[in-house]
Symmetry: C2
Subunit: 158 residues, 2 copies
Amino acid sequence: MNKRLKHIVASAAAIGALAAAASAVAQQGPKPEQLIKWRQSAYQLLAWNTGRIKTNVEGQYNKDEVVKAANTIAAIANSGLGALYAPGTETGKGWHETAVKPELFTDKKAGEVAANFNKEANELAKVAAVGDVAAVKAQLGKVQGTCKACHDDFRKKD
Amino acid sequence: MNKRLKHIVASAAAIGALAAAASAVAQQGPKPEQLIKWRQSAYQLLAWNTGRIKTNVEGQYNKDEVVKAANTIAAIANSGLGALYAPGTETGKGWHETAVKPELFTDKKAGEVAANFNKEANELAKVAAVGDVAAVKAQLGKVQGTCKACHDDFRKKD
């Protein structure tokens, strides 16, 4: 290989490496800060909707509103929140510093806790569709129990 | 009415007024800042989920992920976001200063724009369940069109 040809081959290889790096960046998807912001947003919507159901079961009951709230909770539970805990999001700031404990990323119990939340959230949507206030209240308590279980194990104290 | 009785009556009236005011505060529910934070969170989740569907229709298609994302978008659209635009939330800071224009609270077109979003979001969930990639891509475009329509009319420019 003559000197000029070697130079062309080396340049082509360099361009190839750059393209591969650019592609890897593109495939990485959203930045950790964005993922943390999204999961913090998800929990805010869960708080809004559990709060609405609580207000309904403790006061004037509006079945339509409870159904909407329960369906939103179930959809978020089923949305695949795990994707928002991708590697690189163990620490960092979304809307605020993440409160997640490192254990969430290593402890097998985390998957179990998440599955319990999904199960109870889906049950809440079913119970809300029927519309028995006492049953909704009881099931809301179960959902909130799964929230607390995760907070106890995997969320830093305020 | 003697002087002492007048005093008692006046005191009772004052207590009644205080109780009524306290009750009104309780009935008002969450503070404007909280409502703004919740609606900003809702839009973040919509961005997460429309982004996921975009990634799927432009690359490797995962029907299960698209269904989850579309169901989340539809549930949020149906959740009754209008409640997060209660009086008192025309200005203020949630996660950040609200970008809403005052027209959203007065222009009748706002309800129409919101209804269009709901309609297209519900259609997206149906189309996602079928799983035709081209149809999902087209319907995602319609949903995003309704996002843009609202931003154009009712959201301050960055």
